[in-house]
Subunit: 379 residues, 2 copies
């Protein structure tokens, strides 16, 4: 029934059928190594930054692989490892023994997520990796975060958020999704908006430190700041996207007084959102994480390092959407040109520009579609 | 320290300083008799309608006066009477003894609201009367409602919702409040929108049965319907209000493509919302409640009956806002005319029209401002 796996040098057991989410199964998804790498690095980065050990909760620990990695690579005030499944908790304990980890700062719990949250005092870091609808655990998770505490969330509900199921997106996240060019970034930004609105009901603000899309999931690391003022201000960054499917021009707006005609090509416009238009990344935290990756190479995957480096690169450009160069080439009957070349040309022209981890063929830039077309013609 | 009070023929104790919300105090607000009358009548109405006894939870019971009234006037499957305060629960038990109520269907609990909700099975009716921010208890209250169960909610946060504190309204309810003519109705509609959006995250729809404003509070009775389809559809009723402060014309819209100029007078427009634009009332339930009031006159206050009758009257007109006739008179330099007379004249002219419980000088009608002005000139 169980099988031994290895991640970042740690051996541990999970169900042989490790990707089944069946009740009683001990789930382990090797693809989530990226998220676990990031969570280890962000805990190390923030522990350094704040010069303070964290009280950490892994709410749905499954095989305990993440908690094992925290135990090996991080220092902390306390680490609470919880799973609602008895089978999981027994495997978690076995895995800690297997790795000879004995640490009085680590506690194992076998409770439903909300039960544990309700009876616990507050944490500096809560990891929420639900199989199901995330909303069931969010209200209490947020309430049980200290000021400046981190909500670490993964979701595989990418199909709803990126527009495959627009009704589901509206129902779950109160926003109209965008199913065109930069749909996954838009999905993450809808989710951030929704989480910030939940936090604002608790007089708090959620500040994105690191949000990304990788394969089947979105990963978010958000800092809770207890501040009515910042909660109030967050609404200024919850805007609509007005998009022209014909000429690909995008515009963001906070108003409901807009023209239905594209100012560039005159076509009828569509609107989407609201979505979060601020930054998805804290460059200081990313840079500390990258240092952590470099100094402890053996404890992280190469893939995660590459991904984080690219995210660091694109975090220098503030535009809250990207532009797909292939789409531009197609719409404007141009020869597609190398993304790297285009980025360099845009920079030479005085624009901000970068590649993006969301799509190999897209760029993040403050240049207009017209400027991009002009430069692509010269490439 | 305690004093005996009387409500609807029931004697009970509460703190002598009964309106203080200090910790340990046993709170009793005589003005809330209207809400308690409505809650008794709606339980009786729905028990008749569904031909099924309810499982009822009074989450913050304070002196227990509401639970005492349920015990005297309603039949039920079970009544759980809870308060987080030990002092309250001891007074509640004393009050039940005082009234010689012995009923195996009644259970007393002394737990924090969320603790009780989390460990309980589902209810047909949950009464939530928080002193503080309502949001702390809503997520679990909704989850612990059966299909077709009733969320009964009171809030005194009327100042935020009706536009005195617009930033607070935005932060707590994610909508821009309206501080002009029909500000309290708009406040209730913002709250309904917010609650429906919370419910939709749980694949449920909240259908208003009775919503009202009375003195210092808003009271809402909403039926939870477990239906993704109805949750999806609810978003069609969450719209913006476009309002002309100059000529008083109001328009509702779901789009962000609108002209900033008033089509009637050309002035610059403002927008507010989103707000719920469907009905606040279920006429079948209201009519059963009125029957209940009539058949058991001694158990209800005259004030509540008058209020409910007026609400029943206005529920026949579907316009989701009202018009203040004094404001019209002032803006258009007319002599104010009797609201009753104006309602009759509008009806004779083929319009729908009614008085409204929200304001003695306002009417609910499908007539335009121009029509009202014309008819007021003739009055």
């Amino acid at each position: 029934m169980f099988k031994q796996f290895n991640e970042a040098g740690i051996h541990f057991y999970a169900s042989r059928n490790n990707l089944s989410t069946k009740r009683g199964n001990v789930f382990y998804n090797p693809m989530m190594i990226v998220n676990r790498d990031f969570s280890v690095a962000i805990i190390n980065a923030l522990t350094t930054l704040n010069n303070k050990r964290m009280r950490i909760l892994d709410l749905m620990a499954a095989s305990g692989v993440r908690a094992l990695r925290f135990s090996k690579s991080c220092v902390f005030e306390e680490l609470v490892v919880n799973d609602v499944s008895k089978e999981c908790v027994s495997v978690i304990k076995r895995n800690f023994k297997l790795n000879k980890i004995k640490n009085k700062r680590i506690k194992f719990c076998n409770e439903s997520a909300n039960n544990l949250l309700l009876r616990s005092s507050t944490f500096d870091y809560i990891q929420v990796d639900p199989f199901e609808n995330i909303h069931k655990f969010l209200d209490l998770s947020l309430r049980k975060l200290k000021n400046n505490g981190i909500l670490a969330l993964t979701t595989t509900d990418t199909a709803s958020l990126s527009g495959t199921y627009p009704k589901t997106c509206l129902r779950r996240y109160s926003s109209l999704p965008f199913k065109y060019d930069f749909k996954h970034e838009f999905g993450i930004r809808i989710l951030v908006k929704d989480l910030q609105r939940l936090a604002s009901k608790q007089d708090s603000f959620l500040e994105p430190l690191l949000c990304y899309h990788y394969k089947h999931h979105y990963g978010l690391f958000l800092r809770k700041v207890h501040s009515k003022r910042r909660a109030n201000e967050s609404f200024k960054n919850h805007k609509y996207l007005i998009y022209c499917k014909k000429c690909l021009n995008a515009r963001i707006t906070n108003s409901i007084f807009n023209s239905e005609k594209c100012p560039v090509c005159g076509s009828k416009l569509d609107f989407f959102g609201r979505f979060y238009t601020g930054s998805l990344w804290d460059r200081r935290v990313l840079s500390l994480m990258l240092e952590n990756f470099k100094s402890k190479e053996a404890e992280f995957s190469r893939e995660s390092f590459k991904l984080l480096s690219l995210i660091y690169e694109e975090s220098s450009v503030e535009t809250p959407y990207t532009i797909n160069t292939h789409l531009i080439a197609k719409k404007y009957s141009l020869k597609p040109c190398s993304v790297n070349l285009l980025v360099e040309s845009l920079k030479k022209d005085g624009f901000k520009a970068s590649r993006t981890h969301f799509n190999n063929y897209s760029i993040r830039t403050n240049a207009s579609v017209a400027d991009i077309v002009r430069i692509m013609k010269e490439c």
